[in-house]
């Protein structure tokens, strides 16, 4: 695998960001992953994954307005870069290709 290949958890985070649209920040991302996969991710794990994706240029972030519920702290929203969608599709195609013909056996 190449250096920029996507990890399993990174793909889950990117897909959760895609599903949440413009409302993707850490709390709903964790909830989305949990709801769909049953995997209970920690804030630290999601934070590290998003930081890596940001470094790779696959997501970008912006700060929202502070809210009282969060102790007067702003949310950091994440959106996918166009390159990310392409990478996700590539991963999916690769997986489907590998699965082809195996449904009966596995």
């Amino acid at each position: 695998m190449g250096r920029d290949s996507l990890g399993d958890f990174e793909q889950l985070v990117m897909l959760a960001v895609a599903r949440l649209g413009g409302d993707a920040y850490v709390v709903p991302i964790i909830a989305e992953i949990g709801d769909r996969t049953g995997r209970r991710a920690s804030h630290a794990a999601v934070y590290v994954a998003l930081k890596r994706l940001e470094t790779k240029g696959l997501v970008r972030s912006r700060l929202g307005e502070p809210t009282a519920e969060r102790g007067g702290r702003a949310k950091r929203f994440f959106t996918l870069e166009p390159d990310a969608i392409e990478r996700l599709r590539g991963s999916r195609d690769a997986l489907l290709s590998m699965w082809q013909g195996l449904e009966e056996k596995l």
Partner: protein
């Protein structure tokens, strides 16, 4: 759960941790995410669940961020000066780097502290164990030792010096008629005797102590199983024995049904009636295997004039030492009226058992503790000098740091951290050194120091050591710290290199410290020198015997097989004949107590005195029962008269030798009492010879009176004889040959305690040697420390701030450095 969580707030410390872990741009949004979910959880699942969740998240951040290389590093906190842990860690890191940069300095300071603290702690352990800890028995302050003494003035003496052990009949009178003691016990000898144990594997020699029935009551201890002896068993015929826990474990495999079983001692069956608990230590030492009842039947060796019993007692409740002494004295005067011949001028003397068990060792120990205190003081002065010197070399560095914004307190704290780090390392090494030294000390120590209390390395000693080390460097570390970062910091910056050798005040202080240190070291060195000289004089003085090339061993003839005087004398004569025939053996003899190993069998004796009412004049002397070539073998000269001969047989009139001291005591110096009669041990004897003096101990001031009897005539008593043989040189396989001969006479006998006479006499010098070795060690240590000051400590490095100090690696490239004596 914290009060914060109950009130809806996230854990404060966890929040701070997350804040520290995260890089600044991410802190607010991540903390916002955590806060949002924490509040949601608190509402839906309660505060505890939320609190636990928050901490779990914090731990996840602590684990994952550093691993991912995303940790934020130290926070840009304006209150950083108050971050105690962070600053301490930084201080320690800096201190370690700073000390590593000057390893010689660090080594000298640490070694000085370790040596001083190690020596002090080791000696304090011994002092603590011997002098400060009470005896390990219930109500130890009621335990006393009872002596008797003969008053030359005829009345009670407030400070007698000629202590004697107690006569058995006086002991029974004290025990039975006085209410002074709750219990009073006697031991049948000065030390443990022995038995040949057979029937339990290979024959072996075990140590036995003959005691009266009150013995264990005095110590306030009971057997862990079985019973103590009964008064009726002091009859000389009862074959009952109490085992030590050690023997019970090793020989009988801790048999719980041991009471009632029998064991074979000296060929006779003895019934085991009890087992003492582990840890019970006798007055005479901790190596007793069995206790047996002592024969207190009057007559035989139990007479008023035969002083042989070691007596210990437990005072009755409420009776003080003075009251007890008063009652005993009144009772002694009553005994003197009743038995004037034996008890006129006889008084008992009691003293606390702890004081007695330490003997003269207390003076020795306090001297040693004082010496180690001096070593510690010298060490402290040395360290202070080093720290001051180092503080001076770092004034520029400190001035630059102060100019760059470091607070004065911060700089002092840094120097103090370095000092405390040195103290801790020195302290830990010192404690390790002390632990090792204490063990070595115990091996070297005279037996009198290790009789009663277990000398161990306890927490109080440890605390003292650590407190000493911390205090030493805290005090001496602070002085240079404050001096170094004092008001002349700015001046220091402007100072020219050539003038940077310290202020006049500092130099004066360092000079005073060095003068003090050398003076203290001199005190120790002179003390050690005097002690060495005393020891040398003792070693080389004429003790009256020549112990070179003399080997000695002990034998005990069991009563069952050697019941009569003829059997015992016959055995010794046969053994002597066989041993003398071994090639290389020049002379063979025997005595019931080795020369120059202390007092033993001090008997009263009387010389005819027509002026006295009774017709006799009473004296005291050490009795020696000898056989074979005893006198010639040891080089004791026969000055007048004749030797014991074949006519001095069993049943013939007693013949006796007197030494010169006994002649001087009874008739005056230079008198010739040959042919006169003396009365002792229930016999009248004729003085047939006058022999040379021998010392009781190597350091005895003068010889004491001695009477010599022939074993041939005195074999009615069951003397346990030390066999002595002189060889012309080292004879290989000597003891094997002797054991072969012994086995041919009686295969069940065991020759034990084999050693040279020089060694046997040397044991009596153990405490003198102990003091000397330690004083010399401390003196050398002090000298070494004092010498290290001018060569290492006072060398004040000069030069620019870039130059290294005198304590940098000695093999570092040559650099400009000059020295100044302080």
């Amino acid at each position: 759960m914290s009060r914060r969580a109950r009130h809806g707030k996230a854990p404060d410390f966890a929040t701070k941790l997350v804040t520290r872990l995260l890089p600044p741009p991410s802190r607010h949004d991540v903390l916002g995410d955590l806060e949002e979910e924490f509040q949601h959880l608190r509402r839906t699942h309660g505060g505890l669940r939320a609190w636990l969740w928050y901490w779990r998240q914090t731990i996840a951040f602590a684990c994952k961020l550093p691993a991912a290389g995303l940790a934020g590093g130290l926070p840009e906190d304006p209150r950083r000066e108050h971050n105690v842990i962070g600053n301490l860690a930084a201080d320690i890191r800096f201190a370690v780097r700073s000390l590593l940069a000057e390893p010689l300095f660090a080594f000298v300071v640490i070694a000085t502290l370790a040596l001083a603290i190690g020596a002090n702690t080791a000696i304090f352990s011994v002092v603590n164990g011997v002098l400060l800890s009470p005896l390990d028995y219930p109500e130890p302050d009621r335990l006393v030792r009872v002596y008797q003494y003969y008053s030359r003035s005829g009345g009670f003496e407030s400070a007698p010096t000629n202590f004697d052990v107690v006569s058995p009949l006086d002991y029974t009178d004290y025990r039975d008629q006085l209410s002074t003691f709750q219990s009073l016990a006697g031991m049948g000898n000065y030390g443990p005797m022995g038995f040949d144990l057979t029937g339990e594997g290979a024959p072996q020699r075990i140590s036995a102590l003959y005691v009266t029935s009150d013995y264990f009551d005095v110590y306030g201890l009971r057997p862990m199983t079985g019973r103590v002896f009964e008064r009726s068993e002091e009859d000389g015929n009862s074959r009952v024995v109490i085992l030590s826990a050690r023997l019970w474990r090793s020989l009988f495999e801790s048999d719980p049904e041991i009471v009632g079983r029998t064991m074979t001692l000296d060929g006779e069956a003895w019934e085991i009636v009890g087992v003492m608990p582990a840890g019970f230590v006798d007055l005479v030492g901790d190596d007793v295997d069995v206790w047996v009842p002592h024969d207190m039947t009057p007559g035989g060796f139990n007479t008023r004039g035969n002083h042989y019993m070691t007596v210990v007692g437990r005072l009755a409740p409420g009776v003080t030492l003075a009251e007890a002494q008063q009652q005993l004295t009144a009772f002694d005067e009553q005994l003197a009226r009743q038995y004037p011949e034996s008890n006129d001028g006889r008084y008992a003397w009691i003293q606390p058992l702890q004081e007695d068990s330490v003997g003269n060792a207390d003076t020795m120990l306090w001297v040693l503790l004082g010496s180690t205190a001096l070593v510690l003081l010298i060490g402290c002065v040395n360290v202070a000098n080093l720290l001051i010197g180092r503080g001076m070399t770092r004034r520029k560095e400190l001035a630059i740091r102060a100019a760059l914004g470091s607070g004065r307190l911060r700089l002092v704290r840094q120097l103090l951290t370095e000092s405390l780090l040195l103290a801790l390392i020195g302290g830990v090494l010192g404690v390790a050194l002390a632990a090792m030294t204490t063990r070595a000390l115990l091996r070297l120590a005279p037996q009198s120091l290790t009789l009663i209390n277990d000398i161990s390395f306890d927490s109080r000693v440890l605390a003292l050591a650590l407190a000493t080390s911390l205090l030493t460097t805290a005090v001496f570390g602070l002085v240079p710290a404050f001096r170094s970062v004092g008001k002349d910091l700015e001046t220091a910056l402007r100072e020219d290199d050539r003038g940077n050798s310290g202020s006049r005040g500092t130099n004066r202080m360092r000079s005073a410290l060095v003068v003090g240190e050398v003076a203290l070291a001199l005190v120790l060195l002179i003390g050690a020198g005097l002690m060495m000289r005393s020891f040398w004089l003792l070693q080389t003085r004429d003790i009256g015997v020549d112990p070179s090339n003399v080997t000695t061993f002990e034998l005990r003839l069991p009563e069952a097989r050697y019941d009569t005087a003829q059997e015992r004398e016959g055995f010794y004569q046969e053994l002597r004949r066989r041993v003398a025939a071994i090639p290389g053996v020049d002379a063979v003899g025997a005595v019931q107590w080795l020369p120059v190993t202390g007092t033993y069998n001090v008997w009263g004796y009387a010389t005819a005195d027509p002026d006295s009412d009774s017709g006799w004049d009473h004296h005291l002397a050490n009795i020696r029962v000898i056989s074979g070539d005893y006198l010639d073998l040891l080089g004791i000269p026969l000055l007048a008269g004749r030797r014991f001969g074949p006519d001095d047989a069993l049943g013939a009139p007693f013949a006796v030798y007197l030494n010169e001291a006994a002649v001087a005591d009874g008739w005056g110096p230079g008198a010739n009492p040959l042919g006169e009669t003396i009365r002792s041990g229930g016999h009248d004897g004729e003085i047939v010879g006058i022999v040379g003096n021998t010392l009781l101990r190597q350091r005895s001031a003068s010889p004491t009176p001695k009477l010599y009897f022939s074993h041939t005539q005195f074999a009615e008593r069951r003397w346990s004889m030390f066999q002595l043989l002189r060889t012309s040189a080292d004879v290989p396989g000597l003891m094997t040959a002797i054991r072969t001969q012994l086995a041919e006479i009686d295969p069940l006998l065991v020759a034990f305690n084999v050693r040279t006479l020089e060694r046997a006499i040397g044991v009596g010098m153990a405490d003198t040697r102990f003091t000397m070795v330690l004083l010399v060690a401390f003196g050398s240590m002090a000298g070494l420390l004092a010498a290290s000051v001018p060569t290492a400590c006072c060398r004040t490095p000069l030069g620019s701030a870039a130059e290294r100090s005198a304590f940098a690696w000695p093999w570092a490239p040559a650099r400009k450095r000059s020295s100044a004596w302080c």
